[in-house]
Symmetry: C2
Subunit: 95 residues, 2 copies
């Protein structure tokens, strides 16, 4: 079953530039992964410290593998202490 | 400029069936609107009382018109008092 992710990242102001770079850098290697159907980064128009990933994965297994990749693990470590909040939702499309 | 929306709707348990119906009913007329590029409903796999719309609109004007349509205004009124939380983010795609 295809699985979607909406991941909301709210960045501490003093780390905005650094985290923005890290968010952009994780995109391309993620898109190269088997089972990655979409991996798109957005920025909140009204709150520029808020970023939102919208991701589509071919299966739950593909998403689990993504979470274990070197680029994702490095990325997650790089964010530590630099965020106000992080929310990750695993979704299924219903209509 | 294309504009995206991520709208998160958390429903009070006693209204889950009723609100789920209303969420589904607003989709088709919204998709028929000029400037609606995508209007997709998701459900949280881990928290089934949480729904997420992912929307793509051709312009800010198209989104503003959507908010004034009869089907959207009726929909919003129908949800009053039945939600735990509602969060609407206006986004731009950055990568």
């Amino acid at each position: 079953m295809e699985i979607r992710v909406v991941a909301t990242v709210i960045v501490k102001p003093e780390f905005l530039s650094e985290v923005s770079d890290a968010l952009h850098e994780v995109i391309e290697p993620s898109r190269q992964e088997v089972g990655c159907l979409q991996y798109e980064l957005h920025r909140d128009i009204d709150h520029p410290e808020t970023f939102v990933f919208y991701e589509r994965w071919a299966s739950k297994e593909a998403l689990l593998k993504h979470n274990d990749t070197k680029h994702f693990v490095n990325f997650a470590q790089h964010l530590e202490g630099k965020l106000v909040a992080l929310d990750i939702k695993r979704l299924k499309s219903v209509a």
